[in-house]
């Protein structure tokens, strides 16, 4: 609507881009070296063309032509090798610096940012988007500089043959560029269709192949065969279309090439015919003119490259511009003590509020269960106690002290939080157990924690014990084993406050029983808050809070709740029904 606003926006995005490049600390020394080599190559290239032109024209004097030609060829070989090497090394440095910059920032982004973007997007920002930015610098920005220098060198050289020839060439060059532009635009977006169909095919087959058991048990092999073939046919058809378009454009490109050659030849022909330039000069001119046309044609491509890299640069600068979590400011949370109290807490992930004025007290030194129907906000409550999201209103305090006063990093270190996900990293069992523990841990202590979590027997059965690899994302472990390890890890942190979100859901009846007995022992006198939906686990609580639709429906000591609250009764008491009948 307002032109100046649009310009400001454009200008802003360029500015942001360059600021980002500065922040990434580009390898300027390597860039300078790269430019120097490119300039050298351009100079040598001119000599190489001229000497070979003289050879072509039959000037074969050894000292005057052949020897310098050989020399130039060798220098050219060496220089171009070095230049190529410098370019690649420079790209490698640039990639590394950009990736370092993005990762440093990404680690400190608030959880909300991660949830607003899929992990896939975030990964590609670090791995591929940074590479696009490097490409933009190396294949667009630098060639703009070297291209300009090259054009200047070539034109000056031609002007030494005949100044008028240089001017005539300069006049017709835009015509050539126009031909490139007009006919080069005829690239239809069909390969995009092919890629999309192939991606669809892959996605559909992946969905099936990952669930072969379902297909077998349902006996739907024939149906899946037909569905698969239909997708393959779609991919085939897109491929056929692509073939026609791509190949029909070949003659068009050839016509463009012919037209450009004719333009160049027509200009030079009259000068050669009139004797203004010699045969070697004609041959050199013919070579130079071709190079110039390609150079200028490339300039048009730069804009397209810049446009296509803009997506990548925008995505990366979006990360760089997002506010980081402030992990360091505030008091250090060393000695937390007292009840956890929520007062007037308001929070929601989207526009609507999940909690609106939630008040709750979680007693210190006891084990508290949070129960309630799905969607009532149980896990969110634990997330808010761990300060994973900023509150929209109200306070969370421990022992009467607002938790927001503590520095985020020290506060989270002081709490133990076992989330539903049971995250394991590729690495050894020991690496995973010590994740986030941040102190020296003896083997005896590891043994004790693993015994408490009921996983020691398994660890001892492994040939490498704690040195055994767990595979990517803990792939070599079962769900129950992962949960046990996560509990052991939380116990190793020796927290005064322990939050558990469905932390024992995947364990069998005996396993749950053992783990909860150890939790009760290890955490005696400390505060435990857990979310669970099975009766066996809830039975371990001293205190129960029923959450429904973002409000506390009821709260109290376990035994009282079992008799007084309908939800708890249903969850726990009904199991006794049969016994009473009997």
């Amino acid at each position: 609507m307002d032109l100046s606003a649009i310009f400001r926006k454009k200008y802003g995005s360029f500015r942001r881009f360059f600021l980002m490049l500065v922040k990434a600390r580009l390898p300027f020394l390597w860039i300078a070296l790269d430019l120097a080599f490119s300039f050298g190559l351009i100079k040598i290239g001119v000599s190489a063309t001229e000497y070979s032109a003289r050879l072509y024209a039959g000037e074969v004097d050894f000292a005057a032509v052949v020897l310098p030609f050989l020399l130039v060829t060798v220098v050219n070989l060496v220089l171009s090798s070095l230049s190529g090497l410098v370019t690649s090394v420079c790209s490698a440095f640039m990639n590394r610096n950009l990736r370092r910059m993005v990762w440093r920032k990404a680690v400190r982004l608030p959880l909300g940012f991660y949830e607003a973007n899929t992990p896939k997007e975030m990964i590609s920002r670090i791995t591929t988007d940074t590479a696009s930015i490097t490409q933009l610098v190396m294949q667009v920005f630098l060639p703009i500089i070297t291209g300009a220098y090259s054009a200047w060198v070539l034109l000056t050289r031609i002007s030494t043959y005949d100044r008028a020839l240089m001017w005539s060439l300069l006049v017709v060059l835009p015509l050539n560029v126009l031909i490139t532009f007009v006919l080069g635009r005829l690239n239809f977006g069909v390969s995009d269709l092919t890629n999309r169909r192939t991606a669809e095919l892959t996605a559909a087959l992946a969905e099936r192949t990952n669930n072969m058991m379902l297909i077998k048990t349902m006996g739907t092999e024939e149906k899946e065969m037909d569905a698969g073939v239909a997708r393959m046919e779609a991919s085939y058809r897109a491929g056929v279309l692509n073939t026609w378009v791509r190949n029909l454009s070949q003659p068009i490109q050839a016509i463009a090439g012919v037209l450009k050659t004719i333009v160049i030849v027509m200009v030079g022909r009259s000068f050669y015919a009139s004797g203004a330039i010699s045969l070697p000069e004609w041959i050199a001119y013919y070579g130079f003119a071709g190079q110039l046309t390609n150079l200028l044609g490339a300039y048009l491509g730069y804009w397209a490259s810049f446009k296509s890299a803009q997506g990548a640069t925008d995505r990366v600068s979006q990360i760089m511009d997002a506010p980081s979590e402030d992990a360091g400011t505030g008091e250090t949370a060393t000695e937390l003590a007292g009840d956890i109290r929520l007062e007037g807490v308001a929070f929601g992930y989207g526009d609507s509020l999940l909690f609106d004025g939630l008040d709750m007290t979680i007693p210190a030194g006891q084990i508290t269960a949070i129960v309630g129907p799905s969607g009532s906000g149980k896990s969110t409550l634990l997330n808010l106690i761990d300060r994973l999201y900023p509150l929209r209103g109200g306070t969370v305090s421990i022992g009467g002290r607002d938790t927001a006063a503590y520095s985020l990093s020290s506060y989270r270190k002081a709490l133990g939080y076992v989330t539903q996900e049971c995250v394991m990293y590729a690495g050894t069992l020991r690496d995973n157990l010590l994740q986030g523990v941040g102190r020296e841990v003896s083997d005896e202590e590891l043994d004790a924690a693993c015994a408490a979590a009921g996983i020691l027997e398994y660890v001892r059965s492994l040939p490498d014990k704690y040195g055994a690899p767990v595979g990517e994302g803990g792939a070599s472990l079962s769900g129950g084993q992962r949960q046990r390890l996560t509990v052991a890890r939380a116990l190793l942190k020796r927290p005064d406050y322990l939050l558990l979100d469905e932390a024992t859901a995947a364990m069998d009846i005996d396993g749950k029983d053992k783990v909860w007995t150890s939790i009760r022992q290890t955490m005696a006198g400390k505060t435990v808050v857990f979310v669970a939906h099975d009766g066996q686990t809830v039975r371990n609580a001293d205190h129960i809070i029923v959450l429904r639709d973002g409000k506390v429906e009821a709260a109290g000591a376990r035994d009282r709740m079992l008799t007084a609250n309908a939800f708890c009764k249903e969850m726990l008491d009904k199991t006794k029904g049969r016994e009473e009948e009997a």
Partner: protein, 622 residues
């Protein structure tokens, strides 16, 4: 036909198998032949075109030269385009047909093969590896054209200057050497680049998905260091690539420069001696460029041929490997009978048996619960019953018949199978619920049993018909059954609230629905197949206890009289069963009714105590 020992055989892949791979689908020979003929024509045109280039460089800038050059260039590109069209068409056809063959095979692989081969490798088998099948064919024919053009260019070169051409022949072995060395380097370089890229991507995908964990453990500093290390590792691979990549380029440049130098040296001396005409270097270089171009083409073909071996080996080996014949075997017994395991031993890895010499009976028409600790073999038992795996030893019987003799389809259709997390496929809710119904030829096999389908109360039917006023279509049998099944699975309520009802898209793997909604759709899907035997493996664990109760009460009600096997950790589902089986490390600890097990099974008693049951004569645990 016994299907026991299949997994222990190994399959080697040979040249014979490679040839056989290409007999599995028709190959568009004529397209390849046309492409070769056009390739010959292109070789001729290239030589004619070289003559015009020479003229230009001699300063022969006459109109007929320019026009001839223009026409020839365009003709050349038209021939080239036509050739590519035939090439591409042929290769697309081969890929399309090879894909069908491979996909068919994958669908019929025994489950043990699917486990062994990993889904991701199988997928890339269909999408990427078969691409090499057409590349290989293209190459085989491409070699004819390239070789012909190479020979033609060589003849022209000799015609131009025989002595100099003879000198140049000396460099050809060097070209072969350079190509071989570069090929090796390239292979190693790609391997490293790929490995480093994959390890960096793996690191970030693992850690970025774990953002919540990073925050809760307050370990940003360690994460930063670990990430920088991953980035540096990739950086070192980049540097290696920079050096090795440049080495390759430099080797090529060296070879080319050597040619240039030789022509300049020998050519100039020959011109000085009057053995070659003045502009001979120009002519000769132009023809030499042609020779080099086709030489490179030939050598590239050779390199590519070697590269395809690995990919085709994987696919070929899989095609030669074992497969299931879903419809081969006896029919399932007509009468519903007991499911019996007799001395069954089984392990996914036979060295580590999950079930050991297990003998147990699941009575027909009753609800049987299977309990035991993690790893005791409960889920494996359910998979063996359906013939998804076959035992390593012992026999499984259905109503007395050995299940390994029953056709897999016939056997599996007897069962409904509900897990804790059931996959959905992208498509509408309707597509998912009727997924198993359209069986083989489009007509439903469900509801075809002589007994009435599900035992619905008349009121339910009435309710649904009342609710159907919006629907203009005549409700066919499948549609009606779908609604009953949805109702039974307690899914009708949420489906009605979706924007497009039964036509709502569920997203990839059903991700647009919540976990509980997916579970309900999956239950409806199973009910639609009208199973005689219903197997439920922790089917309620992902639902909150209230929904769990609602759904399974109605399912059990509806399927009263059918054989139901339940694996559960929640003893509420267990105590109500007619028959209970307690497994311990793959062997039978005890079986019987609730009352019997209270006396015979310490595990069973322990379970009840731990879940707070007050046992007769004892205090409750708490």
């Amino acid at each position: 036909m016994k299907r026991q020992k299949e997994k222990k055989r190994r399959y080697a892949f040979s040249l014979k198998d490679l040839v056989r791979f290409y007999t599995r689908f028709p190959i568009p020979w004529w397209m390849y032949i046309v492409s070769v003929v056009l390739g010959f024509a292109a070789g001729e045109l290239a030589i004619q075109l070289a003559k015009f280039t020479i003229s230009f460089n001699k300063g022969e800038l006459y109109n007929h030269v320019i026009i001839g050059y223009a026409l020839l260039t365009i003709l050349n590109s038209v021939v080239g385009a036509l050739r590519s069209v035939f090439d591409d068409y042929a290769s697309l056809r081969v890929t399309y047909r090879a894909r069908q063959a491979v996909w068919k095979k994958i669908l019929h692989l025994p489950q043990s093969e699917v486990d062994r081969r990993q889904p991701s490798a199988l997928i890339s088998g269909v999408t990427n590896d078969v691409g090499t099948a057409s590349t290989l064919m293209g190459m085989l024919f491409g070699i004819f054209a390239s070789f012909y053009s190479f020979a033609r260019a060589l003849v022209e070169l000799f015609r131009c200057q025989a002595t100099l051409a003879a000198y140049m022949l000396v460099t050809i072995p060097l070209a072969v050497l350079v190509f071989t060395v570069v090929g090796r380097l390239q292979h190693e370089m790609q391997r490293r680049t790929y490995a480093s890229l994959r390890s960096m991507t793996e690191f970030f995908s693992e850690h970025i998905s774990a953002a919540k964990n990073i925050k809760t453990q307050a370990m940003e500093d360690q994460e930063e260091a670990a990430g920088l290390a991953a980035i540096d590792k990739r950086f070192r691979a980049d540097l290696y690539e920079a050096i090795m990549g440049q080495l390759q380029v430099s080797l090529f440049s060296f070879y080319n420069s050597l040619g240039t130098v030789m022509i300049a040296l020998f050519g100039s001396s020959m011109i000085r001696k009057g053995q070659m005409e003045q502009t001979g270097i120009n002519d000769f270089t132009t023809y030499m460029n042609n020779v080099n171009q086709y030489l490179a083409e030939n050598l590239t073909h050779y390199q590519t041929l070697r590269g395809t071996q690995g990919a085709l080996q994987y696919v070929g080996e899989m095609l030669e490997g074992p497969q299931e014949e879903p419809d081969q075997g006896e029919a399932a017994p007509e009468q519903v009978g007991d499911l019996q395991l007799e001395h069954v031993t089984f392990g996914y890895d036979p060295a580590q048996p999950v079930l050991r010499d297990l003998t147990v009976t699941i009575p027909a028409g009753k609800v049987t619960a299977v309990i035991g600790n993690n790893g005791s073999g409960k889920s494996t038992l359910l998979k063996l019953l359906q013939g998804v795996y076959y035992p390593d030893g012992g026999t499984i019987r259905m109503g007395g018949a050995d299940v390994s003799r029953i056709a897999p389809h016939a056997l599996r259709r007897q069962f409904g199978y509900i897990l804790q997390n059931n996959p959905l496929f992208s498509g509408s809710v309707r597509d998912n619920i009727i997924y198993g119904v359209q069986g083989e030829k489009g007509e439903g096999f469900a509801w075809s049993t002589p007994e009435p389908p599900l035992l619905f109360e008349g009121t339910v039917r009435e309710n649904i018909e009342y609710g159907d006023v919006d629907d203009k279509r005549p409700p066919d049998a499948v549609e009606q059954n779908m609604r009953w099944a949805a109702q039974l699975a307690d899914a009708d309520g949420f489906i009605a609230s979706l924007a497009e009802g039964y036509d709502t898209d569920v997203g990839e793997s059903g991700k647009l629905l919540s976990g509980g909604q997916r579970q309900r759709v999956a239950i409806a899907r199973t009910l639609m197949t009208d199973p005689r035997y219903l197997l439920m493996d922790e089917a309620g664990a992902s639902l909150d206890h209230k929904s769990d109760d609602t759904i399974f009460r109605s399912v059990r009600q509806a399927l009263k009289g059918r054989t139901i096997v339940v694996v559960a950790h929640d003893m509420r589902s267990v105590v109500e069963a007619d028959h209970i089986i307690v497994l311990d490390h793959g062997t039978l600890e005890a079986q019987g009714t609730h009352a019997e097990l209270l006396k015979t099974s310490p595990t069973y008693r322990g379970y009840l105590e731990k879940q707070g049951y007050a046992l007769a004569g004892e205090e409750a645990a708490r």
